[in-house]
């Protein structure tokens, strides 16, 4: 599966409020469903998402079974320096996924 779709403005003015969007593919299996044979389908979800801006954490979320497949986050931050946004998703069964995007301050 494609890792993730990230949207960060490539350029911004210092002090601009910018929107960050992060979409990732994951089945988000709740752990409550059963197969036709009656066996429980084991839980397989993303449990945490974090975004760091030049190493400083600016957004974090814990995820739970009620969250739909392919979770999508949208949030805002203030563009104050050129650099890198790093995204990290951690989940069940050792799931780990990272992505990054660069921004230039004009």
């Amino acid at each position: 599966m494609a890792a993730a779709l990230i949207s960060v403005p490539k350029q911004a003015k210092r002090g601009d409020i910018i929107e960050i969007k992060a979409l990732t593919s994951h089945i988000m299996e709740t752990g409550y469903r059963r197969t036709a044979a009656g066996d429980l389908v084991p839980r397989d979800i993303i449990t945490s998402f974090a975004c760091r801006y030049n190493g400083r954490e600016i957004f974090r979320a814990d995820l739970f079974p009620a969250i739909a497949a392919n979770p999508f986050f949208s949030f805002f931050t203030v563009a104050n320096e050129s650099g890198k946004f790093e995204f990290e998703w951690i989940g069940d069964n050792g799931y780990s996924n990272t992505a990054s995007a660069a921004i230039t301050i004009l």
């Binding site: 593919s25 988000m28 392919n70």
Partner: protein, 255 residues
Amino acid sequence: MKRAVIIAMLTLAPVYAGEIAPSERRSGYDFMAADTKAMQDDDTANPGMLWVLDGEALWKQKQGTAGKACADCHGDAAASMKGVAARYPAFDKTLGRPVSLDQRINLCRADHQQAEPLAYESHDLLALNAYVAAQSKGMPIAVGDDPELKPFVEKGHELFMQRQGQLNLACVNCHDDNWEKKLAGSPITQGQPTGYPTYRLEWQTVGSIERRMRGCITGVRAKPYDFGAPELVELELYLMMRARDMAMEAPAVRP
């Protein structure tokens, strides 16, 4: 003058424009809530784009014993696949019948890549289909130019009109006759196939038009045709004829 206009309309009219006038046709998009529309409109919020990205990777990946990738014959999909999905299902001369885009991909795999066919609704087939379909985004549906398709469109139309299942309903009873109404709180749409493969929120994944049609057939409590069955391809063909000139939206988002 008036007669000339009528004659012009008769010759230009698609085969079955009778039920819903062309000006009355509406994509499922029009029935959606603002949030769902926004999700489809933004490529970074539309989960269907994850499948498109995977399809792009598969397009360049060598497959089968021939060791060829789609790109080795077709090159850049942005050029070679532009408008292709808008013309499917298309007539296949060797088979003597229309084939869906899914079937075309698997025929290509068998004939040119010497690769195993991809299962219907498998991730890879949906991804390739979504990638090819996305190249036609915004283009008008242009199915049915081939005169050899005519008898198959006819069969699809018959199926559309055919009452079936324990509820004894035909497609036409909802999608032509009652599309402005609601069923259990949800809008009954016109069943215009503009956005397939589609990311459906109910499915929480991308699915094909055949999956959607099978859902409807199960809904009227009839036994659905198997994936890839000639009946489903003919029904898809008729639906695409019915939606001729409407804009392609794949990968769409639907509730």
